[in-house]
């Protein structure tokens, strides 16, 4: 039975936005000052518990309260109501190089930063060589930090940060720094932390990262938890949200352009998955079966200069295949009434898993007309001899 290391009970956080600050405004509006305040709830009734040894990704659109929640866990912000309780030592990597002073040398800053992150002097002495090694800036360790390039700065800061020794580690998008090899080092280190049974709470915008390292993902939106569970589930919810927002934006843009008549020029009115040979409707196929995607396009007025795109996505949103009428070299005719088109996908070598089919109807000018992010789903039954999105008739034998 794993222990809860973080228990968040009914936490809400309110920010008061004051529109006035100067003495004159305060005097003039004295007594009515409540009119000049705006409440903003960054977090609303959050109830979570996180067990020891788990890696949790906090995801959500900008301004959804991810960082606020992380700061509340870290004790940097106090909740307006509710409580946050912890077990064990906590370290927060909300900013690399916290407390770095430009006038101090690299060496002095290492000690200061380490101390701020809760590493004792003894430990820093012990790790100092490792820290400098890891950062790869040994020749400059006794130079003032203000002369460092931004890359050197970040490397040094990160090297200190990975030597923290917490039970709970809070990370806020700091992994997105440095060049690729350095980022890989980062991920290795995070995996090392996981192996050592530390609890990690991660705020990130890189959804692939969540899928890769987290065993639980929590989606926040407008300060509320909208999904909480396996990363795949949570990512699906988040992507659907993003899609809905996008759709609203597209409609807004269209209605702005076209004034009152906001109806789209055309829409995809139906999608069918058919077996490649028998043309019977299917929802699951074997690897290397052929598939036909039949798309009904219905124009509202005459539709000319358009194209249709199709893509196959994994549940994590990675596109494994995509094409469109332009790439295929076929120019669809101008339409005046509903017409069906077939995408033929022979010998579809998909690996085992569930895939979603994404369709998009666009004008040749690039303007989107209609889009179905999850037009249909297809289940591929594998033979259990392989993993991944690609089905290959692989075998193994002595050469």
């Amino acid at each position: 039975m794993p222990t809860n290391v973080i228990e968040i009970t009914d936490v809400s956080k309110r920010f008061v936005i004051r529109k006035e600050k100067s003495l004159k405004e305060r005097l003039v509006n004295f007594g009515r000052s409540n009119l000049h305040k705006d409440d903003f709830w960054a977090l609303r009734d959050i109830d979570l518990s996180i067990t020891s040894g788990s890696t949790v990704g906090l995801i959500g659109p900008n301004g959804s309260g991810k960082s606020t929640l992380l700061k509340t866990i870290g004790g940097i912000l106090q909740p307006t109501s509710g409580s946050v309780q912890l077990r064990g030592r906590l370290a927060a990597l909300l900013e690399l190089g916290a407390g770095f002073h430009p006038d101090l040398t690299g060496r002095e800053n290492v000690y200061l930063n380490a101390s701020i992150l809760g590493i004792s002097r003894e430990q820093t002495d012990k790790y100092f060589d490792a820290i400098v090694d890891f950062s790869g800036i040994e020749p400059f360790i006794d130079t003032q930090v203000k002369f460092y390039s931004s890359g050197m700065y970040v490397r040094l800061a990160f090297s200190v940060a990975v030597h923290v020794d917490p039970d709970i580690l809070l990370v806020d998008e700091v992994l997105a720094v440095g060049d690729e090899p350095f980022q890989r080092k980062c991920m290795e280190r995070i995996k090392g932390f996981q192996h050592e049974g530390r609890t990690i709470v991660l705020v990130t915008h890189s959804l692939d990262q969540v899928a890769e390292i987290c065993d639980r993902a929590i989606v926040l939106e407008h300060g509320r938890v909208t999904a909480d569970g396996a990363p795949q589930e949570a990512l699906r919810v988040l992507r659907a949200d993003f899609e809905a927002t996008r759709q609203v934006e597209i409609e807004k843009a269209q209605s702005r352009e076209e004034g009152a008549k906001a109806t789209p020029r055309a829409r995809i009115s139906g999608v069918q998955l058919l077996h490649g040979e028998t043309l019977a409707p299917v929802d699951s196929i074997e690897p290397r079966d052929s598939l036909v995607v039949r798309v009904d396009v219905e124009p509202h007025a005459e539709l000319a200069d358009w194209m249709l795109g199709l893509a196959i996505d994994t549940p994590l949103g990675v596109t494994v295949f995509g094409t469109n009428t332009q790439l295929l070299g076929s120019a669809p005719p101008a339409l005046t009434h509903g017409t069906s088109f077939d995408f033929r996908l022979p010998d579809l070598s998909l690996g085992e898993g569930r895939y979603s089919i994404r369709l998009a109807l666009e004008g040749l000018d690039g303007q989107e007309i209609h889009r179905l992010p999850e037009a249909a789903h297809v289940e591929v039954h594998g033979d259990g001899r392989s993993q991944g999105s690609l089905a290959v008739a692989a075998s193994f034998a002595p050469a």
Binding site: N4, L23, G88, A98, L112, S115, E196, R198
Partner: protein, 306 residues
């Protein structure tokens, strides 16, 4: 699961839950606050060193500049007040202040420490806004690091002061040092109490730091630093004199002068200076506790106000 992680899980299971961040409660949190600050004393030391090292890092003369200000003040007051206004006692002019240079430097040394702590603390939380928004450490360390750096500068000035007493052949001995220790204790607790309180208030009302700079300039004249006590004694009496003496900094400055201004032994001093210093110490400790509690109360919203 590896042994490592199993051991960690077992250890965590045995630990009780604790609230994140500073403890709530106005009265109950005192011990916890002290324990938190003590747990971060290494960081405190490093922050003090950062203050000191970063201050004059790229200047040629470095630390000399921290002494330049009191020396400049000494020179100005010595020439303007001692010579031109005739406050200095010289042969043929009785009624002045004997050893005027030592007298002034004694007062200025005490005042410099007071002003360093109060002004420095007031801006300390705002100056460390970047850190406060990103890392949780007990926020008291920021004002306290200012106190540490100020004490270091004070140490240097004090050494020079003692050197000067040796140079004029009037090294303070015996019971005088008790006055010094008592006055120093009052000075540190009182100014730290003020500093903690102002540091917290300054976050919400930035006007405070400008106000404080002006107040420090004015209050310099409310204590017998550039003029001697005997002039006040002549000018004020009754409740006004009591009021003047109720100022803890007046008592501190007088205590310092009792200790280092050996030539002033024949001069008048207010009665019961030791007792009033002891009372002030008691009040200052109480104030320090109160202002720490106010600080603890206000600090929960620091990160969002900065």
């Amino acid at each position: 699961m590896t042994n490592d992680s199993a051991a960690r899980a077992a250890r965590l299971a045995a630990e009780p839950l604790r609230p994140a961040g500073p403890r709530p409660g106005f009265l109950t949190g005192t011990l916890q606050s002290i324990r938190d600050v003590l747990a971060h004393r290494e960081l405190l030391g490093l922050l003090v060193r950062r203050e000191l090292k970063a201050r004059y890092k790229d200047s040629v003369l470095g630390f000399f500049w921290s002494l330049a200000k009191p020396f400049a003040m000494l020179l100005v007051y010595y020439v303007a007040i001692g010579k031109f206004l005739g406050a200095e006692q010289i042969p043929g002019r009785p009624g002045g202040v004997p050893q005027f240079a030592i007298f002034i430097f004694t007062g200025l040394t005490a005042w410099q420490l007071f002003s360093d702590i109060v002004v420095g603390c007031t801006g300390s939380v705002v100056a460390n806004a970047g850190l406060i928004k990103k890392v949780y450490v007990p926020r008291e360390v920021y004002p306290l690091s200012v106190v540490g750096a100020a004490l270091f500068n004070f140490g240097i000035q004090l050494t020079i002061l003692v050197g000067a007493t040796v140079a004029v052949g009037q090294f303070p001995t015996g019971f005088r040092w008790l006055y010094f220790l008592l006055a120093l204790a009052v000075l540190i607790t009182f100014s730290t109490a003020l500093g903690l309180f102002l540091a917290a208030v300054n976050v919400y009302l930035r006007d405070v730091q400008y106000l404080i700079e002006i107040m420090i300039m004015i209050l310099l004249w409310a204590s017998p630093i550039v003029y001697a006590w005997k002039f006040v004694d002549n000018a004020l009496d009754g409740p006004l004199q009591s009021l003047y003496l109720a100022n803890p900094m007046t008592q501190v400055v007088l205590g310092f002068q009792r200790a280092f201004w050996v030539a002033g032994d024949g001069e008048p001093f207010p009665a019961n200076l030791g007792e009033s210093l002891l009372i002030s110490l008691g009040i200052s400790v109480l104030l320090l506790w109160l202002s720490q509690r106010v600080f603890a109360r206000l600090q929960s919203n620091f990160a969002q106000e900065l």
